[in-house]
């Protein structure tokens, strides 16, 4: 007897109520999707710390003429600065140390630091005109992940599985993976994948690279799978006796959750068992993909999670916060991420999955055109810059090979097609078939949503 039959047998209609409380393969709001989705799932490659658009995508050849000169006040126009550079006595501009070239049929400008990304530029849509209001990491990352700078709201992944439920039989619908960069990056926080005021079952499940891949997944040492089966059979029998007595549907749900837990004990190891991956996989992602905890490994796992129907896959790569020593730090981060990110896109494409998988790459803000801290012949830093930066998207209904928006000659202000954080969120939801104004949850008397009271779908990005 399978689970569904068993429920039907034992509980009649209550079986449905019990199933509705499972995160896996169920859930979602009855009125969603609001339209035909172009993406079934999202893989979000979050570059925590704020990668510099000036060295990576936003090519400003004119800057070399201004090297060392102060940013004109007419450009800065009284915009607020972080307290890290507000008391700086001067604002000398620094051009990128790294060269740019045009790539692909689309002719996208990409830095020499990202050769593999450059090679797949025709699959990507670059937003050059991303902007945010937050100027410090915590509020800025929180803004991207929850739509509010102040912590406490559900994360994008939580909203997604709350709204759409999960497609996976035996894995959580929202999975998070971290990689460390150089090891000195800005901290992250559990609440970035938390469920805020939504029930905690919608929180992201962190897959870890050390210890249990999912917390408490493994049986205790000395208590193997055979014993676990005996244990679960007895538990089910006793809990069913209780259910017959109490009539409480929560008991039925609990019985099902133990079975789900048991399934996860095999499905998760199967997921992370990379032995079936062929040599060509590693040729694509690089040898780093064999190292648990690397960005490359996480990208490979992201593809495997996507194959198994996980709806929202969130990666974080830390340590993009280059206040100083940028010419050393930035290439290291690019080295770690360029190949795997590009490999993920190519891999999804060759498996026919890019069409319904939306991939997003980007950080919480950009970096300033002027130097922060000490400017020397071979080193400089850049402060946080919320007013413009670059994010790219691919697959899942996004128009490939385009660049949207533009910044001024100093990569300081957006001059064309600004895209706000809420607009990006609205667009991601749109690709998932969700009108962002329809995905709401009533809390404290108010209908909350990911995009607060803002957000416009960025139509030119859509295929």
């Amino acid at each position: 007897m399978n689970r569904r039959q068993w429920f039907g047998h034992t509980l009649g209609t209550l079986g449905q109520a019990a199933l509705a409380t499972l995160q896996a393969k169920s859930g979602g709001l009855p009125h969603l999707p609001t339209h035909k989705p172009t993406a079934k799932r999202v893989i979000y490659l979050f570059m925590s710390g704020g990668p510099s658009q000036i060295e990576l995508f936003d090519y400003k050849p004119g800057l070399s003429a201004f090297a060392g000169k102060d940013l004109p006040e007419s450009v800065r126009n009284g915009q607020r600065l972080t307290q890290m550079s507000a008391t700086q006595s001067s604002f000398p501009m620094v051009p990128s140390k790294f060269s740019f070239a045009r790539h692909g049929q689309s002719g996208a400008w990409v830095s020499e630091l990202l050769p593999r990304t450059a090679a797949i530029a025709d699959r990507l849509a670059f937003i050059k005109s991303m902007h945010t209001e937050a100027i410090n990491h915590d509020p800025a990352v929180t803004f991207f992940q929850t739509g509010s700078q102040i912590a406490g709201r559900p994360s994008m992944g939580s909203w997604t599985i709350y709204g759409l439920g999960s497609e996976s039989e035996n894995l959580p619908g929202f999975v998070v993976m971290l990689s460390q960069g150089g090891g000195g990056g800005q901290p992250l926080y559990d609440r970035l994948w938390g469920s805020g005021f939504l029930p905690t079952k919608y929180q992201g499940v962190k897959f870890r690279s050390t210890g249990d891949p999912v917390l408490y997944l493994s049986n205790p040492d000395g208590f193997g799978a055979g014993n676990r089966r005996v244990f679960l059979d007895a538990l089910k029998e006793i809990n069913t006796s209780k259910l017959d007595e109490s009539g409480d549907p929560e008991t039925a749900t609990r019985i099902a959750q133990y079975e789900m837990a048991f399934q996860m004990q095999s499905s998760v190891p199967e997921l992370i068992g990379l032995s079936q991956e062929s040599a060509s996989t590693y040729a694509l992602y690089g040898e780093d993909a064999r190292k648990p905890g690397s960005f490359a490994y996480n990208c490979l796992l992201a593809r495997r999670l996507a194959e198994r129907g996980v709806r929202f896959i969130q990666l974080y790569h830390r340590d993009w916060d280059h206040h100083g020593g940028l010419p050393k730090g930035l290439p290291a981060r690019c080295q770690e991420t360029d190949r795997p990110a590009a490999a993920l896109i190519s891999d999804l494409a060759q498996r026919g999955m890019l069409d319904d998988t939306l991939v997003v790459w980007g950080g919480e803000f950009g970096r300033t055109v002027y130097c922060q801290g000490r400017l020397t012949a071979d080193s400089y830093g850049r402060d946080h810059h919320p007013r413009c930066f670059t994010v790219w998207l691919a697959g899942g209904g996004i128009k490939p090979g385009i660049s949207l928006g533009a910044t001024d000659d100093f990569s300081y202000n957006v001059v064309e097609n600004p895209v706000h954080v809420h607009d990006l969120q609205a667009t991601i939801l749109h690709c998932l078939g969700v009108d962002h104004t329809k995905l709401t949850y009533q809390f404290q008397g108010r209908h909350f949503r990911l995009t607060d009271v803002h957000g416009k779908v960025v139509k030119p990005l859509l295929a």
């Binding site: 209550l14 409380t21 499972l22 995160q23 607020r80 972080t82 307290q83 890290m84 550079s85 008391t87 100027i135 410090n136 990491h137 915590d138 912590a151 971290l178 990056g185 901290p187 992250l188 926080y189 559990d190 938390g194 905690t200 079952k201 870890r208 050390t210 210890g211 917390l215 408490y216 997944l217 205790p220 040492d221 000395g222 208590f223 014993n227 676990r228 005996v230 244990f231 059979d233 007895a234 538990l235 006793i238 809990n239 006796s241 209780k242 259910l243 109490s246 009539g247 409480d248 549907p249 929560e250 008991t251 019985i255 959750q257 837990a261 996860m264 000490r374 404290q444 008397g445 108010r446």
Partner: protein, 1011 residues
Amino acid sequence: MRIALGLALAAGLCAQAAEVRFNRDVRPILSDRCYACHGPDPGARKSKLRLDIESQAKADLGGGRFGIVPGEPDRSGVLQRVLTSNKALRMPPAYLGHAALKPGEIATLRQWIAEGAHYQSHWSFIPPVKAPLPEVRGADWARTPIDRFVLARLEREGLHPSPPAARARLLRRLTLDLTGLAPSPDETRAFLDDAAPEAYERAVDRLLASPRYAERMAIRWLEAARYADTNGYQSDGPRDMWRWRDWVIGAFHQNKPFDEFTIEQIAGDLLPGATLDQKIATGFNRNHRTSAEGGIVDEEFRVEYVADRAETTSMVWLGATLGCARCHDHKYDPFTQKDFYSLFAFYNNVPEKGFVYNFGNEEPYIKAPLPAQARRLAELDAAVTRAEVRAQESEATSRKARRAWERSYAKSAAPEWTPQEALALRDDAGGDFTGKEGRELAPATEVRLNYRDPFTFAAWIEPREAKGAILSKAEDYWEGTGHGLYLVDGKLRLHVVFRWTDLGFRVETEEAIPLNVRQHIAVTYDGSMKASHARIYVNGKPARMKILFDQGIWPLDPGEPWRIGSGGGLRFNGRIDGVRVWRREMPAAEVAAIALPESAAAIARKKDGARGGDEREKLRLAFLDLGAPGELRQARAELGQARIARDEYYATIPTVMVMTERAERRPTFVLKRGAYDAPGEPVEPATPAVLGGWNPEWPRNRLGLAKWLVSRDNPLTARVTVNRFWQMLFGTGLVKTVEDFGSQGEMPPHRELLDWLAAEFMSSGWDVKHILKTIVMSATYQQSSKVDAALRERDPENRLLARGPRLRLAPEMVRDQALQVSGLLVEKTGGPSVKPYQPAGLWKELSNGEDYKPDRGEGLYRRTLYQYWRRTVAPPSLVNFDSPSRETCVVRETRTNTPLQALDLMNDVTYVEAARKLGERMWHAAGGDEGRLRAGWLLVLAHEPNARELAAATAALGRFRVYYQAHADEALRYLAAGDSPRDTAIPAPEAAALAAAGSLILNLDETVTKE
């Protein structure tokens, strides 16, 4: 699904009555469907029509158009517009994506208008009164007034109460509810054996008197108060608020009346003659998160803290979502943006910063010694005083020795005396610098200084230029990290910098010093992280000083050498000599002494009458250093030791962050769009006008606010508080939206019951134990929780209360119960937070600091209430079981049911170890598999298993035994989980099999459920 059922029920509950009532039937429709555009927020109002205020809803809108014409639905614009089939005109507007009103809603509006369109104040804004108890047919069942209200409703609905719960189950329910722990088998037996009618009441009284009760009550309050052991936000450094946490436990234990409980937490510091405890209580409003992220705008975050206090206060006491009015007038409730900032103003007068210290408590904080600590400190203070007296006496009796020393010292040719205490660096070589070079001191002389180290720098200088470096231990560029003493525009400047732009402090003299003159300069600092505690002396006299930057709150240690004449990118032009560094803050009198040009020997040669005051002091100090006789030396050494002992002990005394008031009130403004840098009109501290009840005799400060919160005229506090108690016992509040009693909140199905309890709470003198006892003594509470299909369909959430509560245990109870039934629990009240098991690496993978280090010993087994709570990486097991994150105030209890919880209970070492110890207890309690399983059931569930349960468990135990007899190595590994030793009297295969059986019992649905 559950939500949908709940709404259906609520609608069903409301549709029962024939007559339409505004608060119950109409307001929810208007609020949810109309107020967003036709409500309190003028910014959002789309036309003249305003429906939340009666006079405006019925006013002439011009052109003979009316929104509402009482008695005439068909002439009322509102009804026409909700009815029209023209989508362009229909309300709520289709173009904004809103659905049309449902026919039932339209019928309600029509009936209401036809009956005269009478408005009522929102129910929860009218102070509660006790309604007469309703007449009921089943008067025998109804033991208490609560039961009369419940039964009246059930009779109206054609339902019957459930029979009483089985006594053992009832005792377990009661014990878990009142103490957070399970009854012991002895307690269960005694209760079952006690046939007296008052047996149950005796159990209630016993449990309410238990110290466990206070711990159980405290944890929900900690969640509401967003209590944690770290600051949150990005850096998430540690803080110490456990003295406040223990105050809360103490308050519940003493059954402090809720009005005092409130007043002390909001304004204990403002009470006349405030005690230490009353000051500690105010920590409530300092439990919010604080940010130490580099680069933040100080004011932006300071404003955030004040707003957090206002929002938390309104949620905890008023059940009001006043935070919604932070950026604009409230869209549903009659709270204006001005109301929000008027409440905010009460909390806007704390002498505090937005950018806080990352390594401990931020000001304002106080030392909060425990009584024993206060006694010990008084002893040590007395010892210092005694030692001071002895040293003075000894010095007084050493006059002869002193005169002898002076005579001999006058003739000595020793180098000039320098105070020896904590002298760290002495350089007599000096130098004549040209403005191009400096001198690096040999590494052997390196003295490291960090940001909290006190120091004194001194030197003689004769500058030829007004700019240069005198002494530094800093990177050699202007904004570099480190300590530096410089001359800039002729002014002396002290830099202690970690990161120039935001971390460190800088001070300078107001006036320039003269060039080409030899002069003595000194700077002192006490390591207090306050720029104002730095001093600059010129020729022994304190110079007036300007603070340039004041954020010396971050460690620094640049690893640079000490340099004379260079550093900070500057070079000195002129002479420097007599450079000294002490690792202490030198007192002013001593600085004046060392700044004298005359050597101690020269002063010794003068006649005593010819010596000035500073000269006498210098000679005295030199004598104490160089010539003191043995007894005086001994007395001074003892004084030094007494001071160190006292200071070291003092440093171990916990501190707690508290509320205090600035001397001069900080003005408050409405902040446009909630933005910290967009002040609008000024406001005074005031409570929301719509709630009324302000007594003009109260001060317009936190004390007035506190008194208003617990005044008998406040319509909300008592209701909101008893509603949380109800939620604690029944899982759902009488008002389900425990955080929102406004018009978007739930209209309670048992409103008269809620009001009765609220009124009873106040008239009992806000007696918390009394109100809890009143509830648990009711027949309603004591019903069985079994439910049949019909009742479950009719009332899935048990809002009508035709049965007792059946709920998964609260997160902390899941763990506490497992520790208790396995015998591992260490019961000890209060103290610093503890660190039980947690999987390795969780802290490390998110941030760069240290990883979590679990305690050894009893810290592993204390109640969960005492568990260290790091906000950004909250304890994963508790979060699995739905603990709020402690980021912001949370008062709603939620319960989910997930596979992660199953994995946690099966595999977390906490539960594996508890299962092992439970197995040992079972082994000792009885013989035979069935006997031992029965014992396990009794230990955990207070009753024996039924035949089916016992059969399943016995079969499993048998199979575990067979397995472990064949795999003794695995048995040993399985038994190795956890730090507690295993009972080696039990053969390993047997112990392992029983551990597995123990785990089975700990994982039962019934075990994690209160029935």
